[in-house]
Amino acid sequence: MMRRLLLLIVVCGVLTGRVDAYSHFGTGAGDALVHWDPALARWFATNRGAPGVSAGDFQAALLRAFQTWQDVPTATIEFSFAGFTSVEPFEEDGLSVIGFQDHPEMDRVLGATTFVFDDTTGALVEADIFFNSMFEWSAGTGGDPNRFDLQSVAVHEIGHFIGLGHSAIGETEVMPQGGRRVLGSAAVMFPISLGRGSIADRTLQPDDIAGVSDLYPAAGFDSSTGGVRGRVRKGGAPVIGAHIIAFNPRTGALVGGFALGADGDFQILGLAPGPYVLRVEPLDDADIDSFFDLPNVDIDFLVTYHPRLVAAPSGGVGDRADITVRSK
């Protein structure tokens, strides 16, 4: 069934190209949707660690991180540890390998995930994750105030591994001594690390859970959750690349999406049924290429709330919310 769906997806991709999208609801790679066939979801760990992290610690931290995603009750995704290997990540060998690597040329990158797939069929061949051993890592249960928490970053990268993109729900600051750091985020899939010592991103947030559940829904998930949809416009013209946050005033859940349709359309699924506040903001502080690859992204508008609460009905998607924003 999954294979059939995947095939349909690929066919749709070839036929229609971009229709509408949710960066955090599935990482599209060209015409293919990165989506695992559960039967293929096996991963290897490299048989070496990094300073402060043994190979055993490394594998244990990865297992915990995978388990975090597998424990989402509204999703059904399961991965298995296939064993240690001397093969390195990023080798195009058909194996999904996770390991430390030295990447001094990427000295702002803690870790990254790559996919290799057949560009004609969309079939996923492998996915690899590397953790940059240029940084100091900790695999301790309580973290280490001077090191990056391996498990937290692994939860983020595994989010990519299973097919999620970045969430933009987060706030940052530029520090007086230079550099930029996160003040807070509402998704493990926010692209910027919480920094040394933080282990907060070991725990998924509603945005992450909505994303994985939408990709790999457990029985009943689709019928018990709903979605909101809408369109962002400015002066009658579509706004491309706006970031929309759906906020559930009862539960406090924040789930995000992007207006990536040609008409500034957006759609956010996997929401608990009920009324939602919709808030639109420009990605004018962000590294847009990290979220999506689109020309003509509009970042010249003010943060705007939709004047009405928007309903996400059980098992469906609510009426279209037209949100008009103003230029700065």
Binding site: I9, T16, V19, A29, A32, D287, N296, D300, G316
Partner: protein, 194 residues
């Protein structure tokens, strides 16, 4: 009667189709602020991509792309008519490799690039996509995105002072950062009436 959209297999396929076009994104980043990125980059150029060549490199058989840029302006580093840099991922035959969060280029892309890496290694964009600023031209106007974040303190979205710059203003901002001149403090703290 308002439209009601219930989930059905067809709807799921529609959603799936929507996802197909979804963007590539991601990597856990330790971001730099603009001045720091300018200072730490070895080469900062403005130009247009004229070629993208994927290749398998090294004993690791990794797929990456070598991008050739026709340089219009060199803001830092040794001026040259063309420069090459590499980015992870690319297409070799039927196989396509994508590093989530790495920028992708196509011929004709106009960009400002902050590159890091000295010869003989081929340079890469600073912090993957952090060092890529794209120029969009429309109706005789040009805008560089993302917008430049300056000043200190919380970075707020929708800040009226943070707009896309035109290429000349962007180049000026880069030179300002390289000269160490403190850019005007545009920290948000002051929510303005809207």
């Amino acid at each position: 009667m308002p439209n009601i959209h219930y989930r059905s297999p067809l709807f799921l396929v529609f959603v799936a189709c929507a996802l197909v076009g979804a963007p590539v994104a991601a990597t856990t980043l330790v971001p730099a602020e603009f001045g720091q990125m300018a200072r730490e980059s070895e080469l900062i150029v403005h130009g247009t991509v004229v070629g993208v060549q994927a290749q398998v490199v090294g004993p690791r058989r990794t797929i990456e792309s070598v991008v050739t840029l026709q340089v219009a302006d060199t803001l830092k580093g040794t001026p040259a008519a063309q420069t090459v840099f590499r980015v992870p991922g690319g297409r070799i035959g039927r196989l396509r490799s994508v590093m989530v969060g790495a920028p992708q280029f196509a011929a004709g892309d106009e960009v400002f690039l902050f590159l890091k890496g000295r010869a003989p290694a081929i340079a890469m964009p600073y912090g993957l996509s952090q060092g890529v600023f794209r120029v969009a031209r429309s109706g005789g106007k040009a805008a560089v995105t993302p917008a430049v974040v300056t000043g200190t303190g919380p970075v707020t979205r929708g800040d009226r002072s943070r707009r896309p710059l035109d290429p000349a203003a962007f180049a000026s901002r880069v030179r300002q950062a390289l000269d160490g001149a403190a850019p005007p403090d545009r920290r948000r703290a002051i929510p303005r009436p809207r």
